[in-house]
């Protein structure tokens, strides 16, 4: 996949890594299009598509009317015509006008056509909180999509994954919802466009440990790494698994980790109730019940609307909430 003239490895913020990923994908395949609100001249409200319209033209980097159902619906049509649209939804809370198209059409079309058509649409959604925004700009709706068969859902936590996972999502023949942790957009990490990436849906152990496994994805991976560092000082060795993919979930990697550490805490910003952590807990309990020394604990958001910005620090699971769960799990 890496182009022969791939640029050298560089430290890039996540937003820029995604930009480079889009650029490389468009260079590699003329069928790749970018569509969304304000993605052209403005380069998107987070500047993720900065400069793309200038370099690839208005035919390939398309400022759309302000209508999400229209954006996704027409992206489906273009995919049926052989294009590979990469759609940007401006913020998590604005995907819902398109939810019908995504759930009733995009997700099911391949199956309904008995496999005769493919709809390789990627929907990029800057998601989750932590930027002090107004309502509808901080939500974590990933399970509303992961629950739907026919959709794949992924969320990178760092620049290298952002770059490679998006390239892989665009190459994937299935619809992929690509959740971008917006509060990490400015975090820098090394991106090597000549590297050979692992599979898109494979989880990664990002820190090894022995006493307990933290499983997270997207914005919460950083929090878990910080929690692991804090626990280390208290003599507790935590392993951190970056799930990277929420549909499918790589349970094998989590299982291997848990068979070693014997304790598992799942962490996400989305509400705990019926969240992806519940699925991980249930599967892992089935898979390695006799290895577990403690029930799988879940850390996440509350069953309440995302609060106004001045309460988000309390609402969001941070270091303390993760460590509190770690303590409880270790106490069993």
């Amino acid at each position: 996949m890496a182009a022969t003239t791939a640029p050298a490895a560089r430290k890039l913020p996540i937003a820029k890594a995604i930009n480079e990923s889009l650029r490389a994908s468009m260079e590699a395949d003329p069928k790749v299009l970018v569509m969304g609100e304000d993605v052209g001249k403005l380069g998107g409200v987070f500047r993720v598509t900065d400069g793309l319209q200038k370099d690839f033209g208005e035919e390939r980097v398309i400022d759309t009317p302000l209508a999400e159902s229209g954006i996704v619906g027409t992206a489906i049509g273009m995919a049926l015509r052989g294009y590979r649209p990469v759609v940007e939804i401006q913020f998590d809370g604005f995907v819902f006008p398109a939810y019908d198209q995504i759930v009733t059409q995009l997700a099911k079309m391949h199956a309904r056509a008995l496999g005769k058509v493919k709809v390789p649409v990627v929907i990029r959604i800057p998601y989750a909180g932590g930027i002090g925004a107004v309502e509808h700009h901080s939500e974590s709706p990933e399970v509303l999509f992961a629950h739907v068969a026919g959709l794949k859902c992924v969320s990178p936590s760092n620049s290298a994954d952002a770059y490679w996972m998006l390239r892989q999502a665009i190459e994937c023949d299935d619809p992929v919802i690509f959740f971008e942790p917006k509060r990490r957009y400015w975090d820098k990490g090394e991106v090597d466009p000549a590297a050979i990436p692992g599979p898109l849906h494979q989880a990664k152990v990002v820190k090894e440990g022995t006493a307990l496994t933290l499983a997270a994805y997207g914005p919460m991976v950083k929090v878990c790494l910080e929690a692991a560092a804090a626990a280390e000082e208290e003599g507790n060795s935590l392993e951190v698994v970056d799930l990277r993919s929420i549909s499918p979930i790589d349970f094998d990697t989590v299982q291997r980790s848990v068979e070693k550490t014997r304790r598992l805490v799942t962490v996400h910003e989305a509400p705990v109730f019926l969240g992806s952590g519940a699925e991980v807990a249930a599967r892992l309990t089935e898979r390695c019940f006799y290895h577990l020394e403690a029930p799988v604990l879940r850390v996440g958001g509350f069953h309440a609307p995302y609060p106004p910005a001045r309460l988000e620090d309390e609402y969001l699971p941070g270091l303390d909430r993760v460590l509190d769960a770690v303590d409880r799990a270790l106490a069993y």
Partner: protein, 442 residues
């Protein structure tokens, strides 16, 4: 808020006695001006309304049928200059065959005061954002006339569904301006009781409120009240399915709703030609109700046209679309950088059409307000700025446990459980020596 007070207010609102029927000269007369006091008027008119409305010539001046613009048509002036104007940019009073207002000097000065104070409040909010007191602000700069003109056309029993930029309309509805700051400061997601001033909460998801306004209007009609409902939305919003569906429902049910679109030429970085190839007001045609474009920087024209539209709504003639042709003089919000997508020349051309300057020019030329008056307004606006600055600095942060408040009207076991758990968790920090540090409690 008590149940009683709600009930009392509801009674006042429903009975439609909130104000006198507007009778501005030159407005298109309507066939259903009978039904004093509102009462059961609309219900009784029910079936015949539709016929009446169908037979009636729309109040709005019909746009001449024109062939579609070629694909590259500029949206800056679609439809040319066919808009309702009563006050030129130079402050000259002109007349229109279908729409007019006849205002006393005091009323004219009132509109001026409304615009100046709204503008001052807005500027104050922008600077509070710069100082870090607000997380974000969406300025109405340039849209004062569209908002004050339309807002002052309403009675107290009318109901408004705003976007997030209708600070001027809020002012007309007597909403305490400092309440508007709460959601931009991040202390709440709304912050006022919509039923106190018949001004619904700001809505951020583009277009949603236009359906709510339509449904509310359908309810007004069912009640037989003669209130009108106004849905505000932008040029960008006109692309949303919700808005098209609102037009359909309003038309099919002949709902007493006025669709007030402020075409400020931009939806963040996208010019109006990304949303439409025909002038927005002409969309009404296809839905079967009148649409009219008004000079959105002319407060008198906005007042006159909105008055005519709400009068239609009150008298059972159904919806109307108003496109107020205006300009967003500021950035989309304080997070936006318009230099990336629009020119200084465009901005300057709209500066010459300033809504406040033109009314002031008219008042001065006609001798309807003197220097002392303008000085007094200036003083009042200084005081308003001071008040807003003080209010923001004393605005309390919400209590942490507010996260769990009002999630449900009838309660929910899981919310109760999580609230209790979280309270226990928080109290575990209370006696820990390191409480407050990032690792408090550990």
């Amino acid at each position: 808020m008590t149940v009683e007070s709600t009930a009392a207010r509801e009674e006042a609102r429903r009975s439609g006695t909130g104000g006198k029927r507007a009778a501005a000269s030159g407005e298109p007369s309507t066939s259903r001006s009978a039904s004093p006091g509102g009462g059961k008027g609309r219900a009784a008119q029910g079936a015949s309304n539709k016929q009446g409305a169908a037979k009636k010539k729309p109040a709005a001046k019909k746009a001449p049928a024109k062939s579609r613009k070629p694909a590259k048509a500029s949206a800056a002036q679609p439809g040319g200059d066919e808009f309702v104007q009563l006050l030129t940019p130079e402050g000259e009073r002109v007349h229109h065959p279908s729409y007019d207002v006849d205002l006393t000097d005091e009323e004219l000065r009132g509109l001026y005061r409304d615009m100046v104070l709204t503008c001052r409040f807005d500027a104050e909010a922008t600077s509070l954002q710069r100082q870090g007191e607000l997380g974000l602000w969406a300025s109405l700069l340039g849209q004062e006339a569209a908002q004050i003109g339309s807002g002052r056309a309403l009675r107290t029993d009318d109901y408004v569904f705003p976007t997030y930029r209708e600070h001027g309309v809020a002012w007309c509805r007597d909403v305490d301006p400092t309440l508007l700051l709460g959601m931009f400061r991040g202390v709440n997601n709304g912050g006022w009781d919509p039923n106190t001033n018949n001004f619904h909460l700001y809505t951020i998801v583009i277009g949603s409120q236009v359906l709510h306004a339509t449904g509310y209007a359908m309810g007004v009609a069912k009640d037989g009240a003669d209130s009108a409902v106004v849905a505000y939305f932008g040029d960008g919003a006109s692309s949303q399915g919700d808005v098209a569906e609102a037009f359909t429902f309003a038309s099919v049910y002949n709902a007493p709703v006025v669709f007030f679109c402020q075409n400020n030429q931009w939806a963040i970085s996208e010019p109006t030609d990304r949303q439409t190839r025909v002038p927005i007001y002409r969309r009404a045609d296809g839905f079967g109700f009148p649409g009219v474009r008004v000079d959105g920087n002319d407060v008198l024209a906005c007042l006159a046209v909105t008055k005519a539209a709400v009068e239609r709504a009150r008298t059972g003639e159904g919806p109307m679309l108003i496109e107020a042709f205006t300009y967003r003089m500021g950035a989309h919000t304080t997070s936006d950088d318009p230099t990336r997508y629009r020119t200084d020349e465009e901005h300057a051309s709209w500066e010459a059409k300033d809504p406040i300057a033109r009314l002031r020019g008219y008042l001065e030329r006609e001798g309807r307000a003197d220097e002392a008056y303008f000085a007094a307004i200036e003083e009042e606006s200084e005081a308003m700025g001071k008040h807003v600055r003080e209010a923001i600095r004393t605005m309390p942060d919400p209590d942490t446990m507010a996260i769990f408040e009002n999630v449900y009207a009838d309660g929910h076991a899981l919310v109760d459980e999580e609230r209790a758990q979280f309270a226990r968790y928080l109290s575990s920090f209370a006696d820990a020596p390191a409480a407050g540090s990032t690792q408090g409690g550990h």
